[in-house]
């Protein structure tokens, strides 16, 4: 399993190396594009954080890491991707007040769960602050580009509440109920990942606007981060591989934004 994880990490690092190269090429072609700047920054950080994690996995996988460079990099990655999205889909602060409040509440609930699981509150608070901003930006842009219908917003909100409640309940129940709730949460997480991926691919096929694609790609990234932080073992490895695919989709959306700008 450990070897498999290292292999998966190596694959992601190789894909990210290619994405760093491509995003820098995109930046050199269109030097005036802020989206290209921030996306290049995002991929460079992700690539370096992956190398750090790879070395950690190989040399010191058992060592406790209360706060390290990769945690700070995760926060930086979320901020740079949020900046890339905000430059691609400009919006005012009052563009989607209700959705942003709900998104921020969902992000805060996630941060509380991370702290409860790991006990490493310093790293979780620092990453969490960036995550709240990241989720708010993603939600706001989804609203601005009208990527979701009213029904979809309500459904997504309901599923988010269900997921948080489900994960919260695992603290109060013993086995075998705990495993059943966990399984239910995995099903929910996977279904929502699938939903975002299908929506994004349909959007590509229908040649929707670059802004809409970028919003959906970033929303997909938000969800994959939620899923990765909530999973372990084999499921974690599967989500980790989907995260690699998400990186490619973010690049494709960003390059479309840059080319159309």
């Amino acid at each position: 399993m450990e070897l498999f994880l290292v292999g998966t990490n190596l694959l992601q690092t190789a894909v990210l190396a290619a994405l760093v190269f491509l995003s820098i090429r995109l930046l050199l072609k269109k030097t005036g594009s802020l989206t290209a700047v921030f996306v290049s920054f995002f991929f460079a950080l992700w690539f370096l954080a992956d190398i750090y994690w790879l070395v950690y996995d190989i040399l010191r996988a058992d060592a406790r890491m209360p706060f390290a460079a990769n945690e700070f990099a995760e926060a930086a990655m979320m901020l740079t991707l949020a900046a890339a999205l905000n430059s691609a889909v400009p919006h005012g602060t009052r563009a989607a007040v209700r959705q942003v409040i709900c998104g921020a509440l969902f992000a805060v609930s996630n941060v509380v769960l991370w702290i409860a699981w790991s006990g490493e509150w310093v790293q979780d608070v620092i990453t969490g602050l960036a995550f709240i901003w990241f989720v708010s930006s993603a939600v706001c842009s989804l609203k601005v580009v009208h990527a979701l219908s009213k029904k979809e917003w309500v459904l997504l909100g309901g599923l988010c509440v269900l997921l948080i409640v489900g994960q919260g309940l695992t603290f109060f129940f013993e086995e075998p109920f705990k495993s059943s709730i966990d399984t239910g949460c995995y099903v929910l997480l996977s279904l929502i990942i699938l939903y975002w991926l299908v929506k994004l691919i349909i959007s590509y096929k229908r040649k929707h606007s670059a802004q809409r694609l970028m919003s959906l790609a970033v929303a997909n990234t938000v969800w994959i981060i939620v899923a990765i932080f909530m999973s372990s073992g084999l499921i974690y490895t599967i989500y980790f591989n989907i995260e690699t695919l998400t990186g490619v989709l973010v690049f494709l959306a960003a390059s479309k934004v840059v080319k159309e700008s």
């Binding site: 890491m65 209360p66 740079t80």
Partner: protein, 209 residues
């Protein structure tokens, strides 16, 4: 135990005296060298605090937490200079090199006092690797800031991203050299390789201007 404050005083006094005799860039470089040594000392206090609070041990603190603390300590005076005085690119890079060299020199001296200076070959490797690593890491963060300013992309995310670049570089170096054998040799070689790459990038940046 070493008396790092005493070493610090002994090292900075002659440099402070020479500040009277030099002018221009030489003075600026010396001043930044002193700042680099000062933030190294402060960084050691902060890392010591985190070591006591986290309880993960001296070795793991040095590997995981020190890169974050040290890079943040080097970055803060540089960012203050960059943001408040808006110097030209050469001015920022000069400050970065001064701070990096000051930091690495003071750290090397403290290391020699605590671990001994018998093996010249090991000290040469350490001097080359750590010395170059501190300069390259601070250079990387400044490079991020300069690029962001050039492309009119100065945001909180650019600042945090620039700092994060240097932390990741420093953190990976510390992880690599923490294990004996081939990984430590790779670790020692990485700063030199990165220095060469940064020089190439700088040349390209200059040519683009």
């Amino acid at each position: 135990m070493i008396y790092s404050e005493n070493i610090f005083v002994c090292m900075i006094v002659p440099i402070i005296v020479t500040l009277i005799f030099v002018k221009g860039n030489a003075r600026r470089l010396e001043l930044n060298f002193i700042i680099g040594m000062s933030v190294c000392l402060l960084g050691a206090y902060v890392s010591g605090f985190f070591n006591a609070v986290s309880g993960i041990g001296v070795e793991d603190t040095a590997i995981f937490i020190s890169p974050v603390v040290e890079e943040a300590m080097k970055f803060l005076p540089l960012f203050f200079y960059f943001y408040m005085f808006e110097p030209d690119d050469d001015g920022v890079f000069l400050a970065a090199v001064g701070i990096g060299a000051g930091f690495a020199s003071f750290e090397n001296v403290c290391y020699m006092v605590s671990s001994g200076a018998e093996s010249l070959s090991f000290l040469l490797i350490r001097g080359l690797a750590v010395g170059v690593m501190h300069i390259v890491s601070v250079y990387a963060s400044v490079f991020g800031l300069v690029i962001a300013r050039k492309l009119k992309a100065m945001r909180i995310s650019s600042v945090v991203g620039s700092l994060s670049l240097s932390m990741l570089f420093h953190g990976t170096y510390n992880l690599l050299v923490s294990a004996p054998g081939i990984t430590s040799y790779i670790g020692f070689a990485v700063p030199l390789l990165m220095a060469a790459l940064m020089l190439l990038a700088m040349r390209r940046l200059k040519r683009a201007e």
